[in-house]
């Protein structure tokens, strides 16, 4: 019978494979928008080098799920993909897609801990990063009066540098409703540590979190965030049940 940590690890790797394939294909497809030259590369040779690495990264990403049964091969694939991910970020001037680059790095680190040291330690690393990411985002917002009053939500949903057109205009909405929406977002983000204290709350929290990322995708186009964060949900589900089962 398959153990719960193996199941959680397999599910995490499956989602991560999908997330890596999406990111790599996106990078490959971006070249069509640059008929003259790619702004991240100073020469055609450098761009060709990047494309070769991306094709190699795509093949390795697709083999990630299949390589789970062979620990040594899995470690080699994981380390190579991690190096390629960091190399891509350096080539992109340090950051391409902000938080989604960060969660990808954290997933690599968690999976490396799983494969090199101990699967349970790796799953805990991933869970704690997931909880901390929501909590830290909520903490910096609650300190900001613009978030407490609801102004920030109206701003971000209307900001041309963030929101998709046509935008959701909340300017004419009742300020009390907007404040309530902000309070809901802050409560949700700050409640993330409770998932470890109250395991029965975890499924509800993850349902809310998934819907929250899907709404971010709809309003801001953040698909990489959606796939990046749901990749870590099996780890949190496992860790929230850890003390109950042991």
């Amino acid at each position: 019978m398959i153990s719960t940590e193996t199941l959680a690890l397999k599910q995490t790797i499956l989602f991560f494979t999908l997330s890596q394939v999406i990111q790599t294909v996106e990078f490959l497809k971006m070249n069509k928008f640059f008929p003259k030259y790619n702004p991240w590369f100073s020469s055609a040779k450098e761009l060709l080098q990047f494309k070769v690495v991306l094709w190699f990264r795509l093949i390795l990403s697709m083999s990630l799920s299949y390589s789970m049964n062979s620990p040594l091969y899995f470690q080699a694939v994981l380390m190579t993909l991690f190096t390629m991910h960091l190399w891509t970020l350096v080539k992109m001037g340090g950051s391409f897609n902000g938080g989604s680059d960060d969660i990808t790095t954290q997933t690599f680190l968690g999976l490396i801990i799983c494969s090199v040291f101990n699967p349970v330690a790796g799953l805990w690393y991933l869970s704690l990063q997931l909880i901390y990411s929501y909590f830290a985002a909520g903490w910096i917002k609650i300190k900001n009066p613009e978030w407490r009053s609801g102004e920030a939500l109206v701003y971000f949903l209307n900001a041309p540098q963030f929101a998709l057109t046509p935008r959701l205009d909340l300017k004419n909405w009742n300020p009390k409703i907007i404040q309530l929406l902000c309070a809901g977002i802050l409560t949700f983000e700050l409640s993330s540590p409770l998932t470890l204290l109250f395991p029965s709350w975890t499924m509800t929290f993850l349902g809310l979190a998934g819907s929250f990322h899907f709404l971010n995708f709809l309003f801001f186009g953040l698909n990489r965030f959606f796939w990046g964060w749901i990749t870590l949900y099996p780890a949190l589900l496992y860790c929230s049940q850890f003390f109950k089962n042991s």
């Binding site: 030259y37 702004p39 001037g93 990489r224």
Partner: protein, 135 residues
Amino acid sequence: MGKYLFHPILKNIFPNWKFFERTSPHYRVFYQINDSLNDKNPWIELDTTFQRKDLRLLFNEKINLQHALNSTIERWILKINQENFHQDSAENLIEFKILKGFIANKIFSDDANFNFKIELNTDVIFSSTWERFSQ
């Protein structure tokens, strides 16, 4: 080179998860083409907006590229607005080179020179010298 290589990696390994922290002033980017026929062409606004029709849950490269452009502009504005920042260095930053590349791809003539400016709340905060498209 060391700073350029290691700082972004460290930032990724130790992320701060500060999303949508605070509202920022709205910027606009304009470019101007100088061709052999007319040396005073009008300013054209660089489109930095996102279209919902381009939205894809799987391969969303067009919108992610737009996000990358916008965050590049924001990072550059932050850097050049820092105290003690030497304005002559603005064009040496990696963000400037990326922005220049985006604009060069909007211009379809290899013979054209172009310059661009950034407005922050209608104030011009940066104006480039004339650039020529080159690989």
